[in-house]
Amino acid sequence: EQQVQQSPASLVLQEAENAELQCSFSIFTNQVQWFYQRPGGRLVSLLYNPSGTKQSGRLTSTTVIKERRSSLHISSSQITDSGTYLCAMERDYNQGKLIFGQGTKLSIKP
């Protein structure tokens, strides 16, 4: 069973368009993190958002715990935003074990 589902699996946008990435969980969680994985594999932490709305620059994440979902909004996308976005959750009352989704591959075209 896939405990963390991300959608869409891939997304192609024109530069300057907005991107909306979704993450849903099969169980309740008390921790949600969004990551960006560069084509070379390096992982960059974007937002730690266990609940509510959190913003960092052009990124906004909204987590609704009761509905077991989280979203990541990227405004005014840039070509350098291209890559894979991963959502991860910590199982409630677990000891820090993060469970990752399969990712959304984002491609931004000029």
Binding site: G41, S45, E90, Q95, G96, L98, F100
Partner: protein, 114 residues
């Protein structure tokens, strides 16, 4: 922000040899983790570690794997002996707490077993 370092960045070894992957976690963090990502596949939890002990390990954490952090030095993942299926990128992470604590990840060590 806080940084986690990993040494080496790449390691190529022959099957059956031993390998040690090193992680320098954020200085005041208390919880440490290893994750494994096979090329093109999902990131998966291996093990977490606190107060000198393994707290939880996944099915991927085979008997050939071990972790330790002697005297507050590097947090290490040792594989002995290695197998072909151990080829992957191994990411180390650390956090101050659990149950909602943000995890900080290192850049990964790419392990190739020939």
């Amino acid at each position: 922000g806080p940084k986690v370092l990993q040494i080496p960045s790449h390691q190529i070894i022959d099957m059956g040899q031993m390998v040690t992957l090193n992680c320098d976690p954020v200085s005041n963090h208390l919880y440490f983790y290893w994750y494994k990502q096979i090329l093109g596949q999902q990131m998966e939890f291996l093990v977490n570690f606190y107060n000198g002990k393994v707290m939880e390990k996944s099915k991927l954490f085979k008997d050939q794997f071990s972790v330790e952090r002697p005297d507050g030095s590097y947090f290490t993942l040792k594989i002995q002996p290695t197998a072909l299926e151990d080829s992957a990128v191994y990411f180390c992470a650390s956090s101050y707490g659990t149950g909602g604590g943000e995890q900080y990840f290192g850049p990964g060590t790419r392990l190739t077993v020939l």
